[in-house]
């Protein structure tokens, strides 16, 4: 066997793999008859919506399946070994040795009580035989931290995970994974918890390391934008079965399965919305003036408290029937802004004028009455419904709190459920019987039951699968027309902002860095920060975001004009 042939042997081979779910699951097999291979220096993306079994496959690769979930047939071969058949010692040397894994949430994957340098050292010491000297290990740690692009490795090695940002933590996780030069890297949604700009850096880092070391990468994602950017080959999963697989070019430009096409079509393309706000009255409905908020976090007895500026002189206006998108990275203060308008978080200074009242001055009953006009839809559809309250009650309670009779409110709740695309029988069921998308529809119905004039959507579609995301966005757009709602749409996803908003505000560290009509901000951004955000959108090159590319000049002109006419 020549060296060339041997090195081209697959680092991961999954053959006819089937994994059974415990009895009482929603289907008997989590994964059914899945086969694919990863060769050295190749990135394979496993794509699918939640519940497609993609994480199960990743966990099977390192024999990390939860108890009660077992491989029933087929085999996984990692660098020539089947992890399911290895004894503990061999499995230990495989994990983190030949195959390494990084997870979605970098904070919970690092030990909070240990300095990150120590955590990397541990990985080296556990696997290298004969054990290298302490100085050598130190040297390796420094090299690894430099390789993953962390500034000032000495200082970083002595930091605790909580002192690092999300992106830095994920880099540390990658350094740990890289410590023993694995042949295979399994990355389970490694960038889902990160901002677009950080996401792009991390994906680029994984790609660079892959090229440097010729390792195979199994990347699990739900985002076709990410797929378009980094994958060599794609495996599309649905309900545990492979729907389609092939090279990234084949699958994306010429999808054979309808499901793949649906998924690709559902990716927000940042087409500017056609449904622009109808009539704009000169009088703003909601006016935020110079809002201030600083969070103070106590650190130690002697250290001064850490200050995080969430809002520094934020001013904005919102007119009836208008949708305003607030975009920014995590920590930019966009959620705090929404919460302050509803007085869920108390601002330090500034004013929130709604009609002829200043919401900040209201207390008790007056505040309760004012809140009726302002409603919110939260990000997490699982956390925002009371698990012990029937859906119908959840919707009817709002009007009832303002004096509507129970029968009338219940009747109204059923109608609303039908309006948001569920059946009226849903009213008698509990939230756990619904999927994420359905729950978000319930939350929308709950918010609309009070007939508000302003709806704040705080990352309302971020936790949903792309296809569901598109449906919920369409519903919001319809309702907005129908009820002449003014909407503040808070999101980190610029593609969505472009599709739904009339105007956009870009926030950075609690300040508005750019503001203007959607088309203008996205096609001719004035600030470098906005440009960075736009460039970081995954899959830009492939999906050719129509409005964003400067080549579509005519389209830009018309939309700019349209907005100019409105104002």
């Amino acid at each position: 066997m020549t060296e060339a042939v041997r090195t081209n042997a697959p680092v991961l081979a999954v053959e006819a793999l089937s994994i059974a779910l415990p009895k009482g699951g929603d289907r008997p097999l989590a994964v059914e008859n899945v086969s694919f291979e990863i060769r050295p220096n190749e990135v394979v993306c496993l794509v699918g919506e939640s519940g497609s079994g993609k994480s199960m496959i990743a966990h099977a690769v390192l024999s990390l399946l939860p108890r009660g979930v077992d491989i029933v047939s087929g085999a996984v071969t990692v660098a020539g070994q089947d992890p399911a058949r290895l004894d503990r010692r061999a499995l230990r040397s495989l994990r983190g040795g030949k195959a390494a894994m990084i997870f979605q949430e970098p904070l919970s994957s690092l030990n909070p009580l240990k300095r990150v340098g120590k955590q990397i050292e541990e990985m080296i010491v556990a696997h290298q035989r004969p054990a290298p000297s302490a100085a050598e290990v130190q040297q390796r740690v420094q090299t690894l931290l430099t390789q993953v692009g962390l500034p000032n490795p000495q200082l970083l090695a002595n930091s605790y995970p909580f002192e690092l940002s999300g992106g830095q933590r994920q880099r540390v996780m990658i350094a740990i994974a890289m410590a023993n030069r694995p042949a295979l890297l399994v990355a389970d949604e490694p960038t889902t918890a990160l901002d677009v700009t950080t996401q792009r850096q991390i994906l680029r880092l994984i790609d660079d390391l892959r090229r440097d070391r010729g390792m195979g990468v199994l990347l699990i994602t739900h985002d076709f934008g990410v797929v378009a950017d980094v994958a060599d080959r794609v495996v599309v999963l649905r309900h545990g079965k492979v729907v389609e697989q092939g090279t990234v070019h084949e699958v994306l430009s010429n999808p054979k399965a309808d499901y793949t096409r649906e998924l690709i079509d559902a990716v927000p393309k940042a087409r500017f919305s056609d449904i622009q706000g109808t009539v704009v009255r000169p009088e703003p409905l909601l006016e935020v003036i110079g809002l201030q908020k600083t969070f103070r976090v106590k650190r130690g007895w002697l250290q001064p408290p850490r200050e995080v500026v969430a809002a520094e002189g934020i001013s904005l206006t919102l007119h009836e029937g208008e949708t305003l998108a607030v975009v920014g990275e995590s920590g930019s203060g966009k959620s705090t802004l929404g919460r302050m308008i509803l007085r869920l978080t108390e601002p330090d200074g500034g004013a929130i004028r709604f009609g002829d009242q200043d919401l900040r001055q209201l207390r008790g009953e007056a505040l309760r009455q004012a809140r009726r006009q302002l409603q919110i839809v939260f990000q997490d559809p699982f956390a925002s419904l009371n698990p012990r309250q029937k859906v119908g009650d959840a919707i009817a309670r709002g009007p009832m709190a303002y004096g509507t009779s129970r029968t009338e409110a219940t009747e109204q709740a059923r109608k609303l459920l039908v309006r948001v695309g569920l059946s009226d029988a849903a009213a008698d069921r509990y939230p756990h019987e619904f999927s994420g998308g359905q729950r978000q529809r319930i939350c929308i119905a709950r918010a609309l039951a009070l007939k508000p004039r302003v709806l704040i959507a705080d990352e309302a579609v971020s936790a949903l699968d792309v296809s569901v995301q598109a449906q919920v966005l369409a519903l919001l757009a319809e309702l907005r027309q129908e009820m002449r709602l003014a909407m503040i749409f808070i999101t980190h996803d610029l593609r969505i902002a472009a599709e739904i908003a009339d105007r956009v505000i870009v926030l950075q560290k609690g300040r508005i860095v750019e503001e203007g009509p959607t088309a203008e901000v996205f096609t001719a951004p004035r600030q470098a920060y906005t440009r960075d955000l736009l460039e970081a959108i995954p899959g830009r090159a492939f999906f050719d975001q129509p409005g964003f590319a400067a080549t579509h000049a005519d389209e830009i002109d018309s939309s700019v004009q349209r907005d100019a006419l409105k104002i």
């Binding site: 939260f378 709002g398 918010a447």
Partner: protein
């Protein structure tokens, strides 16, 4: 329904429940089996178990130990459950106010709770019972008054956890009034651990009551296990049965409640369960 079914499959929880039911049945049928008052002298003093129609023997005054144990079950269960409920009411009210309103209210209430926690419960109980006349009601209130701090702490922690959950904030935005938010949204989601701790409080309340009676601070009109042990304690070397049988009764009841409480905990909080599926 699922909770009940899961509990039926929980082995140690079911053992606890069965034992508890046995104690409960004994308490209920005591007057039928022993029509004569347990205070009545029915045989010779120091009758050993099995003689003179007394299965568990007679005490120093010739009273039936078996009758005492049976009637004692009524007292122990009544006081245990009633004082645990009293502790739950006090603890939940204080914990809920503390956790929901926070700030100064929290500060004051929690310092008060700490004050109670730093004084040993039994010493405080003796002090309270000795100050007021020992009667069924004062004993229940006393035990309730010394047992609430853990429940208040737990309720406060649960309220802090749930206070800023999105569904609670959504209810706030819906214009729900404070009492509706507390009773309709937060409390139902906090109730499982509170119930578990309350059920375990029943066990400690029974122990406290026994200890008080042992010291002679129980209600003098009630036959209780602690009183029987206290009365038989001086003669334990030549008449072991007078203190051993009531002792076994306490052991079995407290064990049963603990098993039941732990079973309840596993079923109601499956995620923190010690038994993995």
């Amino acid at each position: 329904m699922d909770t009940i079914r899961a509990f039926l499959r929980h082995p140690s929880g079911m053992i606890g429940l069965v034992l508890l039911l046995v104690v409960l049945i004994v308490a209920i049928i005591a007057p039928l089996v022993f029509p004569v008052s347990p205070w009545e002298m029915v045989g010779a003093p120091f009758t050993p178990p099995g003689e003179d129609g007394m299965w568990l023997g007679g005490d120093t005054l010739g009273r039936d130990v078996a009758a005492g144990v049976a009637y004692g079950a009524r007292v122990s269960l009544l006081i245990g459950i009633a004082s645990a409920l009293a502790a739950m009411v006090i603890g939940v009210v204080i914990g809920a106010m503390s956790g929901y309103f926070g700030g100064k209210i929290d500060l004051v209430l929690m310092r008060m709770t700490e004050l109670f926690q730093t004084i040993p419960a039994f010493v405080l109980a003796i002090l309270l019972v000795a100050t007021f006349n020992p009667s069924l009601l004062t004993i229940i209130l006393t035990i309730g008054a010394v047992s609430w701090p853990p429940l208040a702490r737990l309720t406060r922690a649960e309220f802090l956890r749930l206070r800023h959950r999105e569904f609670v904030e959504a209810a706030l935005c819906q214009g729900e009034r404070t009492w509706r938010i507390v009773l309709g949204h937060i409390l139902p989601n906090a109730i499982s651990p509170i119930l578990v701790v309350t059920s375990l409080t029943v066990a400690t309340a029974i122990l406290l009551e026994s200890a008080l009676s042992f010291m002679g601070l129980g209600d003098p009109n009630l036959m209780s296990w602690g009183f029987m042990i206290g009365a038989g304690r001086t003669v334990i070397r030549n008449a072991w049965w007078m203190s051993v049988f009531p002792g076994i009764a306490i052991l079995v009841t407290v064990l049963a409640i603990n098993l039941f409480g732990e079973g309840l905990s596993d079923v109601l909080n499956p995620r923190v369960s010690r038994r993995r599926a």
